[in-house]
């Protein structure tokens, strides 16, 4: 009885692996087929000769590197700002004695409940008025703003637990607050900062709707928006679309392949603390 239920469980888990992974695998096959094979061939058929031409078409006609570069740039600048700004705020609200500390904490907490999409329209009007619509700032600034609540929350939760003695003795020795922050607080906060980096990276790297609303120049598009553009332009070249989707998924898959344990841990930490 026990052995049977064990195998039933294994079977169930295996089926789940297949349903979660098979569509991606299928997309790889799809991206290596000719249009005729995709349209006419039976569903189970393998590509007869792998059509690397699809990848070439996607790569050359799709500005792939440009989109990728934009995504890297926007994500890196956002990450850097989020780490610096939110750890500073987290330090101030977790360790300083000041009247408005709780209010500021509350303001940041509220931000976690506000849907990004509700700000699209006013942000567009604001960006138009200050002339940053269709620039990278139109992405970086709101990305920073929407990433800070959760980051501040995670970081301040951690910093509250740092023993006060270290800081006090440094203070006695005449170190300034800035110095303490830079040489004591930041170095010990590396684990929660990693969590923040992971959460922000996954969100920002995949963000689509702000990019699609605030950006119109081809040369500024980020990867998700670029994929969307490519798919709508080459809507009959199925193989190339498949290839472009795979190319689009590749960077984040590679990162995940290397750091999967860190990423899953970071996502849980983010979810649980949020």
């Amino acid at each position: 009885m026990k052995a049977i239920s064990k195998w039933v469980v294994y079977l169930l888990l295996a089926i789940l692996v297949i349903t979660q992974i098979y569509p991606l695998f299928w997309l790889v096959l799809y991206s290596l087929k000719t249009n005729d094979q995709i349209l006419g061939g039976s569903f189970f058929s393998m590509p007869t000769t792998p059509q690397w031409a699809n990848y070439k078409a996607a790569y050359t006609s799709g500005h792939y590197l440009q989109y990728l570069g934009n995504s890297v740039l926007v994500t890196c600048v956002t990450l850097l700002c989020v780490i610096v700004f939110s750890s500073m705020v987290a330090y101030a609200i977790s360790r300083f004695k000041w009247k408005y500390g709780p209010v500021v904490t509350l303001i940041f907490l509220m931000g976690m409940m506000i849907p990004m999409s509700a700000t699209l329209l006013p942000l567009m009007v604001i960006f138009k008025n200050i002339h940053i619509l269709d620039t990278r700032w139109a992405l970086i600034l709101p990305y920073i703003a929407f990433s800070t609540p959760i980051s501040v929350f995670i970081l301040s939760g951690f910093m509250r637990g740092i023993p006060a003695e270290i800081e006090e003795s440094a203070f006695m020795d005449g170190a300034s607050v800035y110095r303490i922050f830079r040489s004591i607080i930041l170095p010990v906060s590396v684990p929660p900062i990693m969590t923040v980096i992971i959460l922000t990276f996954i969100t920002i790297w995949n963000e689509y709707i702000m990019a699609a609303t605030f950006i119109s120049s081809e040369k500024l598009k980020t990867l998700p928006f670029g994929i969307y553009t490519f798919v709508s332009q080459y809507n009959v070249n199925y193989g190339a679309i498949g290839a472009f989707l795979i190319l689009g998924a590749l960077p984040v898959l590679l990162v995940y392949f290397i750091l999967s344990e860190r990423i899953t841990k970071g996502m849980v930490a983010g979810a649980v603390k949020g």
């Binding site: 799809y30 569903f43 500390g101 700000t119 329209l121 998924a249």
Partner: protein
């Protein structure tokens, strides 16, 4: 805690850069949105104050509004129904699989991909067989030709097809959260229960599930709030169509504001969305406070 008493200027240096960006790009837009919701404005010409007329239109005259609310709420219901399943699977994995972490990270792969990629992938899955669609291809090859259809263009089923994709994408996410919760239940509790004769499914029922309530709540809140905001997937796969059959609150807001240039009306929908998110968070927290009190 709060060990340092520092001058106000230092506090300002630490807090202001972030606070200003945050208030300017999150709070100000929301306030602007609430204000704009009282306007009749196309974004270009002079705006006219019309009081709460936009809300009247929204609640009473817009034939697309309530269906969009219903789709959004059903989205939330389906996402939440997935979580007990995730908890169940997590409990099984904890009991039967030794290296369950690897398994979890495989289930997790769809979570890290962009919704644009997921949406396009599933669009090709749902495509008609003549266009290489996978689902119809499978149905054809197992002799269920009569079941094939154009999944995303039939108003009655398109929405359900979208729910499926969303459940598929976030399965790994909720499973991971539940699994972490289940793993954190101390082993001694199970050993004590074993002595009392509770093993296997019985111990799941009396120990794992009750002890997982706090982590269960987290998934529920995430799923609900996430569903209320559901936009990207719908936008990429159907754009809210055919004929508004798959509109959610967020996509309806987007089409009203950007495609039909009714900025005032779009802002009214956005305001409704914000209020709904806040109210729902408060309600869920209140409900779970009761549930948790019952189990602890």
């Amino acid at each position: 805690m709060n060990v340092l008493k520092v001058p106000a200027r230092t506090i300002a240096v630490f807090v202001l850069p972030c606070l200003l960006i945050y208030i300017g790009l999150v709070f100000v837009p929301i306030i602007v949105s609430v204000y704009d919701s009282t306007l009749n404005w196309d974004g270009i010409n002079t705006a006219k104050h019309i009081g709460i007329d936009n809300f009247k239109t929204m609640f009473a005259h817009d034939a697309n509004f309530w269906p969009a609310v219903r789709h959004t709420l059903m989205y939330a219901v389906f996402s939440m129904l997935e979580i007990p399943i995730c908890l169940f699977v997590a409990a099984l994995m904890n009991r039967y699989v030794k290296k369950a972490n690897t398994l979890v990270s495989i289930y997790f792969v769809p979570v890290i991909l962009s919704t644009v990629i997921i949406g396009q992938l599933w669009k090709t899955v749902y495509n008609p067989a003549e266009m290489g669609g996978m689902l119809n291809g499978i149905l054809n090859s197992i002799g269920l030709d009569s079941w094939t259809r154009s999944w995303l263009t039939e108003p009655k089923i398109a929405m359900y097809c979208l729910y499926v994709v969303s459940l598929w994408q976030y399965f790994g996410y909720h499973l991971l959260i539940q699994f972490t919760g289940v793993q954190n239940i101390p082993q001694e509790v199970y050993e004590a229960a074993k002595i009392d004769g509770a093993e296997g499914f019985k111990s799941d029922w009396y120990i794992t599930y009750p002890m997982a309530v706090p982590i269960f709540k987290i998934s529920i809140v995430l799923a609900f709030i996430g569903s209320l905001q559901s936009f990207d997937l719908v936008w990429v796969m159907t754009g809210g169509g055919p004929a508004h059959a798959t509109d959610t609150i967020a996509t309806l807001m987007y089409t009203s504001s950007f495609s039909s240039n009714q900025y005032g009306y779009g802002s009214a929908i956005a305001t409704f969305l914000v209020v709904m998110c806040l109210v729902v968070t408060v309600i869920i927290n209140a409900v779970f406070k009761k549930v948790e009190a019952k189990y602890s």
